[in-house]
Symmetry: C2
Subunit: 375 residues, 2 copies
């Protein structure tokens, strides 16, 4: 495995060492049948890595200088040194993680060593979260619930001007301002927060419109927050939909169906069931309430336009998918369950929880209410 | 090129489209000799991509389903579809970017198409920032200067308790608290901010210790801030060193030498000069003042323990390095110039600016004072 641990999270997970420079982890066979974990990292990081990284040996590129010397480019030098290290160990073939940057394969092959990519290598292992990871995800989702409560209550408790626009603390309440309230709250809790979705009224009909401008009474506002704990790097991800004031009848119906679908999907989750089957449970529940799976094209006809959810961990989106062709679930999979309905001219309703697959079924990490009324 | 644009910044730069799911950009030859930019992206992102991404055609994996179908795994399906797209176009060989995840090469090769990695492909092009990128970097560095001024003044204007510990607004001033002041200020300016270095006193002797605990009068405090603009994704990066109260004589001498070295390095920067030569200018200036290049091992003997700087843009660390073997500079390279001196038992002094290589020499993006006194 190789890359930049700050962005290659498979590598980060293997070494538990965060750094913004290139690194490589080699799992080498020892004579006694055990495996040596050899980490190649930038020279000035070696001492910190020896103290905290999950590795048996820590080296820097200069420890494996090939004939002809190392490049002055940090990533190239790291790739050259990995190839030279393998060559000195007499290794003739390696299996590589799917995320390996091609430059590493390039230099390893140039040293006469075969590189085989196994697309499935490490994927199941990363999916099955251990007890520590489950704790970090629970903790992240708890912080996300705190931000969600603040956001939805801010909308619900705003005052409405005569034209229906919302006013909070004397100023117009916009999507941008609500995002800023969410961001600052999460920063104070130790989370960095990519741009939240705050999609009010008709904007919510496009399930990936992040939303902008003034929020209004009597319209659904989708709030989707997915922050990352700055220390653990694990993510929360949840969605609620809030309506200020009176709830329009189509929105109430969409919401009731979405909540029923979320419960149906969650009830279907257990080891061995496929992500596809969980998504079919969502679609069946929505169909019972008269809603189809499609892209929204007809005004005021609510449809679901995306899958039921996705794996989550060190990345907000990671395998498996709860969607068509989604694979069998395993104990330790942590998933979002997030059915939604979207209607041109009305907007969207989505409710999203985080759920872990357990031996006996599932555990829902959310406890916050899922209604439209947050007064 | 392929990967996740939110973390593979070479791919992001090529398409200028941010998304946390897999994407691939194919540059395909047209009959008329021009190049077609074909983007493969997740289905629900296609419309947004058609509006804003730098691509001629936007497709999703389902548009290139191979015999046997696509995987239910999003990254695998994207790689399969890229291979199928190339096969349908009758392409027999491709050149790939060094950052290409191996899974893409795996499926392309499995389709009978040769994959060649050129480690230099795109590197120079990414280094040479265009006018727009220079503006984004100037803007990021301006915001960084604002946060730096706030941080250094907060230290300098704190009061000192009888035991020398600093007090700000009635509470002990810790590294953690100063970081939080920096973070909130930057968030309000539209920047996300990875953990800043606030290394007070002896902690500063390790140039990568991020610092913790109470700050004290009469000790150097290294403040190194490198935030990212949330819209443009370009980074700022600068360092100042601040002392509360009386400046100890060795710290004043270290600081004077570091500033002289920074000016010597900056004066050496112009197109064609190597990063190695710029670093030699730093070392020569420090040598004149009696300081050597080494790891700090002897108490109270200041040394420089790292290179002069690094390229910066969409990543805080990117090519080229101003260090041993650093390559010739090109117009549009944007670099940090950050000499420092570190002494066990005393701490560190570092001063860092951001400098662009111009046709006639260089442009310094910083204008903030570089002294130790911020009262």
């Amino acid at each position: 495995m190789a890359g930049i641990p700050a962005t290659n999270l498979s590598l980060y997970r293997a070494i538990r060492f965060k750094v913004g420079d290139p690194a490589a982890l080699l799992l080498l066979p020892r004579a006694d049948g055990s495996t040596e974990r050899l980490l190649v990292i930038r020279d000035i990081e070696m001492e910190r890595a020896r103290r905290t990284a999950r590795a048996d040996d820590v080296h820097c590129p200069a420890d494996f200088e090939p004939v002809g010397g190392l490049s002055g480019d940090r990533e190239t030098a790291t790739a050259q040194s990995v190839a030279e290290c393998l060559r000195r160990r007499g290794i003739s073939a390696v299996r590589a993680d799917r995320s390996l940057p091609l430059i590493y394969a390039h230099f390893i092959r140039a040293a006469g060593i075969a590189v085989d990519c196994d697309p499935d290598l490490g994927v199941l292992e990363r999916r099955a979260k251990d007890a520590q990871e489950l704790d970090w995800l629970r903790e992240a989702q708890r912080a996300t619930e705190g931000a969600m409560k603040l956001a939805c209550e801010t909308v619900a408790r705003a005052s409405a001007a005569a034209d229906g626009t919302l006013v909070h603390a004397g100023l117009p309440l916009t999507a941008e301002r609500l995002r800023s309230i969410i961001d600052i709250h999460l920063l104070e809790q130790g989370y960095e927060n990519p741009e939240s979705i705050v999609a009010g009224g008709p904007q919510g009909a496009d399930c990936h419109d992040h939303g902008h401008g003034i929020l209004r009474t009597g319209e659904p506002v989708i709030v989707d927050i997915f922050p990352r704990n700055r220390k653990t790097l694990y993510n929360g991800d949840m969605t609620r939909t809030v309506v200020h004031g009176a709830v329009p009848s189509p929105v109430a119906m969409m919401h009731a169906a979405v909540v029923r679908a979320k419960h149906a999907a969650t009830a279907a989750i257990r080891p061995g069931v496929t992500g596809d089957a969980v998504h079919q449970a969502t679609l069946a529940a929505l169909r019972e309430d008269g809603y189809a799976s499609a892209q929204p094209t007809e005004p005021r006809v609510p449809v679901i336009s995306h899958g039921t959810g996705h794996g989550i961990g060190l990345e907000v989106h990671e395998p498996p998918l709860l969607a068509l062709k989604g694979p069998p679930l395993v104990v330790g999979d942590v998933l979002t369950v997030e059915p939604g309905l979207y209607a041109i001219g009305i907007g969207g309703v989505r409710v999203e929880d985080m759920v872990a697959v357990t031996a006996s079924g599932s555990e829902n990490f959310n406890s916050l209410q899922e209604g439209l009324d947050w007064r």
